[in-house]
Every structure is written in C-alpha cells, then in structure tokens.
Point group: C2
Chain length 195, copies 2
Amino acid sequence: MRKGEATRQRIVARTANLLNKQGYRSTPVSAIMEVAGLQKGGIYRHFDSRTELTLEAFWYAVARMRDRLATALEGHKSATDQLLALLDIVGNAPRDQAFGGGCPIMNLAIESDDADPKLRAAAREAMNGLIGIFERIIAEGMQQDEFSKKNARTLANSMVATLEGGMMLSKLYKDARYLEAIADELRQRVRSGFR
Amino acid sequence: MRKGEATRQRIVARTANLLNKQGYRSTPVSAIMEVAGLQKGGIYRHFDSRTELTLEAFWYAVARMRDRLATALEGHKSATDQLLALLDIVGNAPRDQAFGGGCPIMNLAIESDDADPKLRAAAREAMNGLIGIFERIIAEGMQQDEFSKKNARTLANSMVATLEGGMMLSKLYKDARYLEAIADELRQRVRSGFR
C-alpha cells in the first residue's frame, strides 16, 4: 500500500465514527481535521470534496455493519436460524462497536431525505442492500415451507423498519432494552413462521 | 398580541418547517434568515440563542403533530377504534402537511442522540409524550378486555418504533406505500387484540 493510500484509509476510518455520531452533514470540517490529525489542506489532498469524504466514510460504516451481519449468517442453514442470528446481532447493536453511533443507513437517511439528493441516493442504495439481506432469507424460508407464503419484500421492509425504530429509541434513551424487547418480539414472529 | 410577539411566533412557525426538513443542527443561520425574512440581528432580538430558537421550532412541530393525533381520537370510544384512528393519521403522514419533513421527534432524536444533550433531552420528553398516547390507550383496552393483557408500555414502544421506522423508509424512498403497508400490519395486530 502506498503511503498516500494508507493515509486516505486512515482518514476514512476515523471520519466514519465521527460522522455517524455527530452527523453526516452537520459535523464541521474542523472536527474532521481534529480526528484525522491533519490540516484542511492535508485532508483535501486525498478527497476532491467534503461530499466525497462523507460518502466514503458512510460506505465504510455500512461495510462494517454488513460484515457483522454476514459473519453472523455463517454456519446457519435454515432461514429461521439465519433470521434469528441476524436478530441476535442487531438486538445487541447498542453494545456493539460495529454499530457505534447507531445504524449509519438510518442516520444518513434522516439527515439527507429532504436535504441532499446525492447523500440520499447513497442511503437508498445501502438500505436496498440491508432490506435485501432480510428479503432473500425470508423468500428462501417460504420456498422451504418454514414461513407462510406472503410477500417477502413487505415482511423484510417491516422487520427492518421495526429494528431501525427500536435502534432509534435505544439510542435516544441510551438504553439497550428498547431494541432488545423489539428483537424479542420479532424472534417470536420468525419462530411462528410469520403466521 | 404585541407586535414583537407576533414576529416571534412567525419566526418559529417558518423555522419549524425548515429545520424539520433541513436538519435541526445542520441548517445554517443564513437559511433561517431567508425563511424568516430577517437579518441575523432581527432574529436574535427575539431569541437568546440558536438553541432557544431550535427548541421552540421543534416544540411547534411536535404540537402540530400532537394536535393532529388528538383530533383523530375525538368521537372514538373503544381503545381499538382509537388506535385505528391513530394508525389512519400516521399511515397517511407522508401526504399530510402536519408531518412535513417527517416526524420531528425521530428527526431530532437521530440528530442529537450522540451530539447534543440539550436537544436530546427535548427529543426524549417529546418521545415520552408520543409513546404515552399509545400506552394509555393500550392499557385502557386491556382493562376493557379488548386487548390481551401484556405490558402496555412494551407494546406502545413497539408500535411507535415500527411506525417511526416505516416513516423513515417512506421519507427515504419518497414513497408513501412503505408506511401504509406497516400501518396495515399494525391494524391487524390491533384488531386481533395483540394476541
């Protein structure tokens, strides 16, 4: 790895945590300079614009979350077990560094939906990916007769919406039990095969 | 009403819409000056600080939403009918000007949870109020044997989390159907008495 590339990746990693906590749009460049340990010129030597850095930091946070979910799925064969494994990870998110600052997709969605089409497009793309993970497993479970045959996408939307809302409450109250109780409720729905 | 008071209220009303769309923390004062039609000095003649204006604008948006929900409850006696009336209002929120920019409580929660304790305290207080509306109705429905006897607060948390998540998806995709489908699912749970 060239030295410039290493510096670039270090800026992205440090900025990712900062922006997911302090806001993708509202964090001042001065705060980025501080966590990166660089002057403004040093940062913009590696990124064409604030938006480019914001997007790279966002995708870094999304990839970290997605890796956590992908790892959780390993070794689980049935759709039921796979969904339960996802719920274990997401239900424990308030205590998990990979979710520091909450779900980056929801955070960027809320900040960008009416305010920044470029950032919103990234949030949509990432949300499609997240919902898609749930949708594929649910559809597979329907094919295998683990789950009652409904619209897999609608069920996936609902699971993700419920988990994101639970995450928001746990983050707001700094109390992991909100999301845990919601994950428990979803576990029951999964175990009952969405009947 | 004194002239100063009328001006103050006009600033709050115009700022409320702006901040709920463009961000409670990330909106620059220049944008507030533009919607208020005032110079910076003209705004700060009425508010001690940006935080004071932000909080007043937030509570204005919350009151507008709460009025909408309170009006919806009028004339409905059973807990089931009351919850269904709330779901009609919230499920239609993407088409309702009273929810312009989405739910102000979720918006402020996401922006403030890790970033601003003063704003977060306001978001918590408003969220307590919103969840409390659902909780009281659910508890009443349990007393009247409309609903199965569970923890009313947990059910209220779950309903609000699911609706907020659905609102987030509808706002992100600019598609009212996400929230509508989620409201439909909750209607079924209410009609089945949370069994």
